[in-house]
């Protein structure tokens, strides 16, 4: 397995013989699948390659799921009939039949493996529009119980639902919820896909849900498809010498938010064959800069992604900040905004997002391709 | 001595008072008078241990006031200040019963004895009828009485009052000093009050201390009060203090065109009216034992006086004639005519124009040619 891993790494860097790698990848996938059928007492090396905040190991008759919560790793034993002896960890019986989720991203990942039927409760509160019609329907019918907002969920209904597990995300402000869940004796597990810095790492979290729902194959298949698509795109744009400069920003009340250089936006742009103008800003998350910095760097931009759907035209941008009209991207009308379902569906299809970006950056390589998640502003 | 203050200096950041000495005996009322800003309130606050002295000592019944615990001091000394408080729904009785603080238990429960003392305090200030009235609905004077009763409920040996009658209505301005007198006499409490109202001080205090710029400038019995000192104290130019009357009288100034012939108190109102309106006048002949004389002394620009109980002499009359010559009109205030002042009629007769407050009938009787007027018209006539 170690050899295979090294191979994978090398193949993603060296994209000369793509076809050969494609075959290798498929072989690898098959091998992995094979591993899950085999009985082997040996501790297999974790199957998670891109994501940094969780890990899965397949053992004989059980799986080990390790998840990073705050700064520590928590180990869960996913068992079928009874938990294995002498193994340390929190036992969870799988497959999970009744699940409560906290965020639309959880639903997105479940959609990827057709697992939304397992959802019986959602901390929704009607706070935003949902782009998953099956879930919306089930919510309306009451098949999925709306538990209110994640800060103050309806614990009563939650107890009544008696879920097998609650999927939560951790912020510094919801420790109260975790404490209460602990007191009530309700199992929860942390989904930290939003902390991943690589879009592929984010996408890989479907394996997390796959492990819980015992749909590892679907998860694997889905993920491999994404990886394959992304590598295809990488390959396609590798021949381009001059990488176009990309600006990705949001302007609000005179402040400009740009993703930092180590985050997943920068990585997506890299996959798409672009040069992110703020890639040298260290760290993850967003950086606040002022308008002058934006205009300075932005002069060099060939393409701009405005990361909000509230701005619908170039005039809107001009109104927010008149000086934007002096930028090359503005004059050449190469500014795109994101679609409203970008945050939910875009997460589900990172390969499409990257393809969109690649098509925007290298239109000549992707003729007749309309971006799905980005709209050109006029 | 019940209360002794020795070389007291006090103040907030700088010394407002310096080297103050005073003392008060049982049952005595001491008045501290002085203009605003002279340090009177600071003095009271220092004596009552609200402020710490910078120098000097205050002894109460031989004990150093600043060495006593607040609860001990509260049984010996009580104060009223000029502070107004909103005490919510408390009734008169409840406010007074706060004075039992140093005597009641940890929860402030009143024993029968406490209630007796509270009612007694209310009686002393004539406020029994205010016991159930909400404090917030009382007039300023009623509130003041209640606050004094509250101080009495502490059963103090010394009572300090800061400006007790300032800002009060007329009825209470008179009533409260009488109450204080009663308290001093009946209970033998030593009372110290501050005021800028000299007339009040003279009326009810036994002794007076005058404070200016933080120092004692005079001290003594109220009856000995000198008008010169008062003038110096207050720096007043427009009025003079008459120690006999115990009042301030406005000073008259200017060239007189009017002469007033009066006596027997009949001229008091007229003279005060003219002075108030800054109309200068002369007066005479008035006998020195006549109250009109005391007023004319201050108010008239010039007075012709005669010795007490003696008939008006020729020289005196001459002086009066001369005054009348210089005037345009003469006012006859309708004074009672008796043996000693009958000759004032001659003064009236020499005048060119006489306005008289007597009736027509009376004028005929004394055979005086004058125009009858009423008090109300006097001002108009004199002003012209």
């Amino acid at each position: 397995m170690i050899i295979a891993e090294r191979f994978l790494k090398s193949t993603s860097l060296d994209l000369k013989s793509m076809k050969f790698d494609k075959v290798l990848l498929v072989l690898l996938a098959l091998a992995l699948l094979g591993c899950t059928q085999h009985s082997s007492d040996q501790v297999e090396h974790g199957i998670v390659k891109f994501a940094k905040n969780f890990q899965i190991e397949f053992h004989d008759g059980y799986k080990i799921l390790k998840v990073k919560e705050d700064e520590t790793w928590k180990t869960y034993i996913l068992y079928y009939d009874k938990p294995p002896e002498g193994v340390e960890g929190i036992p969870i019986k799988i497959p999970i039949k009744r699940m409560v989720v906290m965020s639309s991203t959880h639903i997105a990942q479940l959609e990827a493996i057709n697992g939304t039927d397992a959802v019986v409760g959602f901390m929704y509160g009607g706070r935003y529009k949902l782009y998953f019609p099956d879930v919306v329907e089930r919510l309306e019918k009451g098949e999925i119980v709306d538990l209110g907002s994640p800060n103050a969920p309806d614990y009563e209904k939650l107890i009544e639902l008696n879920p097998d597990i609650v999927i939560i995300y951790v912020t510094s402000s919801n420790e109260k919820v975790r404490e209460k869940l602990r007191e009530l004796g309700i199992n929860y597990i942390v989904d930290s896909e939003w902390l991943e810095n690589d879009p592929l790492g984010r996408a890989e979290w479907v394996k997390f849900f796959g492990a819980l729902l015992d749909k590892d194959e679907e998860a694997e298949e889905y993920f491999n498809r994404i990886v394959k698509n992304v590598e295809e795109i990488e390959e396609a744009v590798s021949s381009v010498e001059e990488k176009p400069n990309v600006l990705w920003a949001l302007i609000y009340k005179g402040r400009v938010y740009v993703p930092r250089g180590d985050g997943y936006v920068a990585k997506m742009i890299e996959y798409a064959g672009g040069d992110y103008l703020f890639k040298d800003v260290n760290g993850t998350g967003s950086e606040i800069i002022n308008i002058e910095d934006l205009l300075l760097k932005g002069q060099k931009a060939d393409v701009m992604i405005y990361s909000s759907y509230y701005v619908k035209s170039l005039d809107d941008i001009k109104r927010k900040e008149p000086r934007m009209a002096d930028l090359k991207v503005f004059k050449e009308r190469k500014i795109y905004n994101i679609t409203p379902d970008y945050w939910q569906l875009g997460l589900l299809h990172p390969d499409i997002v990257i393809r969109d970006l690649a098509a925007i950056l290298h239109p000549e390589l992707f003729k007749d391709y309309e971006p799905r998640f980005f709209v050109r502003l006029t | 001595m019940m209360l002794e203050v020795s070389k007291l200096s006090a103040g907030y950041s700088n010394a407002v008072l310096a080297g103050i000495d005073l003392n008060v005996e049982r049952g005595e009322i001491l008045g501290i008078i002085g203009p605003n800003g002279s340090g009177k309130s600071t003095l009271l606050k220092t004596i009552s241990a609200i402020l710490k002295p910078m120098n000097g000592v205050v002894y109460l019944d031989g004990k150093n006031v600043h060495k006593l615990k607040p609860s001990e001091l509260a049984k010996e000394l009580a104060i009223t200040t000029t502070n107004r408080s909103d005490v919510g729904f408390l009734t008169g009785f409840e406010v007074v019963s706060l004075g039992r603080y140093p005597y009641t238990d940890a929860f402030g429960r009143l024993s029968e004895r406490d209630v007796e003392i509270v009612m007694e305090a209310l009686r002393l200030v004539n406020a029994e009828y205010l016991a159930d009235k909400p404090f917030s609905e009382m007039s300023d004077g009623e509130k003041q009485k209640i606050m004094i009763a509250r101080a009495l409920a502490q059963q103090p040996k010394v009572l300090l009052l800061d400006e007790p009658t300032s800002f009060l209505d007329a009825k209470h301005r008179v009533e409260i000093p009488l109450i204080l007198r009663r308290i001093a006499n009946e209970k033998g409490i030593a009372i110290v009050l501050t005021t800028h109202d000299i007339e009040l001080a003279v009326r009810i205090c036994d002794r007076i201390v005058m404070v200016k710029d933080g120092r004692v400038v005079a001290e003594g019995y109220a009856e000995d009060l000198d008008s010169e000192i008062v003038k110096e104290l207050y720096g007043i130019g427009v009025a003079e203090f008459d120690p006999f009357l115990g009042t301030f009288e406005l000073k008259g100034e200017g060239r007189a065109k009017i002469h007033v012939v009066c006596g027997g108190g009949s001229g008091a109102r007229v003279m005060r009216l003219l002075t108030k309106n800054r109309i200068p006048f002369t007066a005479g002949v008035i006998h020195e034992n006549d109250i009109d004389f005391y007023i004319a002394k201050h108010c008239a620009v010039g007075v012709v006086k005669e010795r007490p109980y003696e008939e008006i002499r020729d020289e005196t009359l001459e002086d009066a004639f001369r005054l009348v010559e210089n005037c345009d009109l003469v006012v006859d205030t309708g004074f009672p005519i008796g043996k000693i002042n009958a000759r004032n009629l001659e003064v009236l007769r020499t005048a060119k124009r006489v306005y008289s407050l007597r009736s027509k009938k009376e004028l005929e009787k004394i055979d005086l040619d004058a125009e009858v007027i009423r008090m109300a018209d006097l001002l108009k006539i004199c002003k012209y």
């Binding site: 509160g125 209460k180 | 408080s85 502490q154």
Partner: protein, 323 residues
């Protein structure tokens, strides 16, 4: 007066029952009884594990805040004083902002711990000031200014933070009794109830302080000492509630007035217990409403306390014509 108090006690008990019975799941007292007797009943479990700690938390929290407000209103002789005038809530808020917005929380201490630590720090500051100032008004002004200072730093953090985090933080500042655990409740009980009892022992000097510090001293009150105790108790009570429930507006300010108006007294021996009960009742009822009004989303409790409290006080004031 006695009768009114008995009625009030009765209402407070009823409010607890309403709190226990109100919820999204149909559960009755019978279920609770069964559960406590050992029967495995989900509904009884729900009442016991979710509703009881929350309702009792609101009950005690409201009582603590109301009493804290009363203390400060009397001491400062200011009807607009509330538990937050000394800057306690601003300090707690700043501490929580450091946690949520700047990620500078102290490990293992969490939001509850941070809020409490922040409040206590402010309390120490205020106590230091209290020894130095000459009178009550000066202390009030100092406290208000301290509050503004903390608030300023908090606003800096808000300006620099991502909008998602700011949203979370703001919600905390609006206050909520959601998710109170039995552990939380234990702490509130052990710390809050003795503190409230201590306040009751201050009834006598508090009555004297109605006339102001100078008069109080002249009647034998050790004003300096009482001042320290008042500030400490008030800050402690406020800090306790703020740590667990965020900033609950209005209760501390309005309840003492309601108590005064309903019982027509300013005597603290009556006011303190009645304020405690009224504060508890009001907060429990507002907590229930906050759960129900926009179900399944919970409203922050401060929204409800302000919305329903303000008109009630206005009505009382107009009707009785004095506060």
């Amino acid at each position: 007066m006695r009768i009114k108090f008995v009625i009030l006690s009765f209402i407070s008990i009823i409010s607890i029952f309403v709190g226990i019975l109100a919820g999204s799941v149909h559960a009755s007292i019978h279920d609770l009884y069964d559960y406590l007797k050992g029967k495995q009943d989900v509904r009884g479990y729900i009442i016991w594990e979710v509703r009881v700690p929350r309702t009792l938390g609101a009950f005690l929290g409201g009582a603590c805040l109301a009493v804290s407000g009363l203390l400060l209103q009397t001491y400062f002789r200011n009807p607009l004083a509330g538990p937050y005038v000394l800057g306690i809530s601003s300090a707690a808020s700043l501490a929580v902002a450091l946690c949520i917005l700047a990620g500078m929380g102290i490990h293992n201490v969490g939001i509850v711990g941070s809020a409490f630590l922040g409040s206590m720090l402010a309390t120490v500051l205020i106590l230091c000031l209290a020894t130095k100032v000459r009178n009550a008004v000066t202390l009030l002004v100092a406290g208000l200014m301290l509050g503004y200072l903390f608030s300023a730093f908090e606003k800096i953090l808000i300006t620099l933070a991502e909008s998602q985090k700011v949203h979370q933080f703001i919600l905390w500042t609006f206050g909520s009794f959601s998710g109170i655990t039995w552990d939380n409740l234990e702490l509130i009980t052990i710390l809050g109830i003795p503190a409230m009892m201590l306040v009751f022992t201050l009834s006598k000097p508090l009555n004297a302080l109605l006339l102001g510090e100078e008069y109080a001293r002249s009647m034998g009150v050790n004003v300096k000492a009482v001042r320290m105790v008042i500030v400490t108790l008030s800050s402690f009570l406020t800090s306790l509630v703020t740590a667990f429930a965020g900033i609950v507006a209005f209760v501390g300010l309005a309840t003492p007035h309601m108590a005064r108006l309903l019982f027509r007294t300013s005597d603290h021996r009556i006011l303190i217990p009645t304020t405690i009960l009224l504060g508890a009742i009001v907060t429990v009822l507002c907590d229930i409403i906050s759960r129900i009004l926009l179900y399944p989303v919970e409203l922050p409790v401060s929204v409800v306390t302000s919305m329903f409290g303000a008109p009630i006080v206005i009505y009382l004031v107009i009707k009785r014509r004095r506060v």
